[in-house]
Symmetry: C2
Subunit: 472 residues, 2 copies
Amino acid sequence: MDLITELRAALGGKAVLTGAADRAGFEADWRRLYNYPALCVVLPETVEQVAAAVKLCGAKGMGIVPQGGNTGLVAGGVPVAGGDQVVLSLARMRRIRGTDTVSDTMIVEAGVTLVAVQEAAASVQRLFPVSLGAEGTAQIGGLISTNAGGVQVLSYGSMRVQVLGLEVVLPDGAVWNGLRALRKDNTGFDLKQIFIGAEGMLGIITAACLRLYPPVTSQATALVGVASITGAMAVFQALRARAGAALTLCEFIARPAMELAAAHVPAGRLPFPAGAYVLAELSAHGPGENMDGALEEVLAAALEAGVATDAVIAQSGRERADMLALREAVPEGELKEGGAVKHDIAVPLGAIPATVVAIEELVGRKYPDCRLNIFGHMGDGNLHVNIRPPVGQSLAVLGDRKVQITRDVEDLAVAQGGSFSAEHGIGQMRLDGMRAHKSAVELGLMRALKRAIDPAGLFNPGKMIPEEDETA
Amino acid sequence: MDLITELRAALGGKAVLTGAADRAGFEADWRRLYNYPALCVVLPETVEQVAAAVKLCGAKGMGIVPQGGNTGLVAGGVPVAGGDQVVLSLARMRRIRGTDTVSDTMIVEAGVTLVAVQEAAASVQRLFPVSLGAEGTAQIGGLISTNAGGVQVLSYGSMRVQVLGLEVVLPDGAVWNGLRALRKDNTGFDLKQIFIGAEGMLGIITAACLRLYPPVTSQATALVGVASITGAMAVFQALRARAGAALTLCEFIARPAMELAAAHVPAGRLPFPAGAYVLAELSAHGPGENMDGALEEVLAAALEAGVATDAVIAQSGRERADMLALREAVPEGELKEGGAVKHDIAVPLGAIPATVVAIEELVGRKYPDCRLNIFGHMGDGNLHVNIRPPVGQSLAVLGDRKVQITRDVEDLAVAQGGSFSAEHGIGQMRLDGMRAHKSAVELGLMRALKRAIDPAGLFNPGKMIPEEDETA
């Protein structure tokens, strides 16, 4: 029997898509930069069906590409060129298996969207704090497999921190039931850690036990104008010192990024002129509690010292929503204006100002016709460094220069002690960065880990780790 | 040349201890329950010396036992019986390589004590939040290798969360320089995660980049009396809902544990009678800020509702210190009164009351002559379940019953969806638990990981993972 027939027999005919039109949405990545055919797409509904599909593919030596909401930005969840592969979508595993408001945990299947998790938590007066632009589509399995970040990492941590337990199908089709709801468990190697952020290279996450938090009852939100990144850093440091973990959001938005956003939100306009902007939020718990005073105090001192040039505190939920919408509109505005060569770097917090200055200098010197769009999660040292094509021209015009631009930005980040992929991962798109920046020792460890868990190279072939001979 | 001669030639004579008296302090574990001879003790001062020692031992197939402050409670850092092994102590690697108060990071070598890290952070107005009883002796390398916990995990997380980067010597003597200072870095497998909590089975941690926090400027601390564990849980839940991450300490102390402590602190006395006690602290940042009002509000409501039976809020730094000293004195009091068969379990938060009741029932039914001493980190679901020998008798009297007691307590924890070792790890002492409670899939994954990184089984042989034939 051929593999498709076997998969249909095991999972049912509707769970296996083979027609080109049916497969299309699973083959192209979010940004439609990568688009290679899959042998078929399987849509299991249970962990047993995932395991069955993995065993059948394994017996034929067929590579499997696990896929969540397909919102990734590095083409990690779609097939690579030149090889038959099966896309295994977790989209139909979308049950919330249980919520426990005493333990503050929720067990969800891989295909549940981030918004659905946030809403389920809110419905029982709890917070699930991971928040990012694609949250309506991104699925928990993919978010865990990519260790997703977003805008509240500085206070709550990335997806890794939210995971208490996992259920994982291994390359041999065995199921590891590690769905624990424990805050502490030092019984041997902490196996869930090797699957989190592993981009599906070691196992297929089918369910997770997530950590919930007490709900925030009020927020104090401000948009702050500063002269430059140096002022932005000073505002961030003052807020963090004053508020600790209550500083739940601190975004940097360079002026060109703010202009892009303002032009593309309904009734959007630049709130006030400034060299650059900081969007910050402090959160409070408990009835009657608020962080308004703390926020006012820090901003007054910053204005007094000339560190901040302007500041607006949201006076209502509506004003707050408008401020957050401005930040969220930056990528959308960029896309509508023709896109960009995008990068997602991280540097030590102290290196943020020097990095921004160096990037501005790089673009001015080497790519003076291009336009820099820079913004990011300041509290994490995470900057989205996007280089837009010349005015009136499309991204395609940049042609081969795109590769050099990416190399230059990545080199610059690494020279600052930084990362060339802070939260987006490697997938297919950042393999050049792995070749350029990872030591032989580090690549050797990654390959050893991959071989130990997936000796046949069945899961997500061609992703994350460059082939050995390529870097020899 | 024999190994000792080679080690002396490479590291210098003073770095290699061979005399029985010199070795003694490195061979017995903290509680002196395990004491087996080592071939020698090596005390390297640099990462290069660690690598050299590893290579020399590896060439002779000699097992290496990495050791930190030797304060572990499961004999993970001392030799096992019946085999020549070299103890490699990191005690002489005690430099603080750098502190950065903008990035809020500190790079320390493995042999730096936890207190030294706390003090170095405090000296630059920063907080390093991990805090535990052995902090004056415990070393950072050991704390990371055991993913240590302590009393502030509920707010700040365990050691795993504090580690941004690692420098590790691998079993082949190669050095992995992963000393990054990044809050986000998704470039391939997050390799540091496999070494954290690995008890030295995969690599020898020689240095770490740690995360620092803004200092807490004031604390509101209370000792609360409750009728039972149910009341304690209600107080915890109310505090967490009200304070979020500002609830930085929430300890449960059963009445017998409090009596033990009170009898053994200077001028100690039971602060007030109660069925059980909760020690809680809320922390604030910023000048003039405090959490007194929030604490009073929650406690007033708890007293009003009859959930709390009594409560005292510390009115001075001295009163706060006395309260914390009472909690810290529990293990000391227990030891002075003859010790106990100790356990360190964790359960989902919601299962805490049922677990405490079940343990009381177990001891009453099966070990009525023994005395239960139970206390722990309530916010983590982590209970120290210690069974003391009959009045006036020594621990030795329990003889073989100790094994059964441990089995019963571990079974009970696992039956509640819990862990049989929450923060202490496995070492030599909890191998029975691994045999009893870990699935074949999970042990298989651990063995695969161990073989992949340390195929010759050079690092910490005989620890953590039971031999394959033992569990077949």
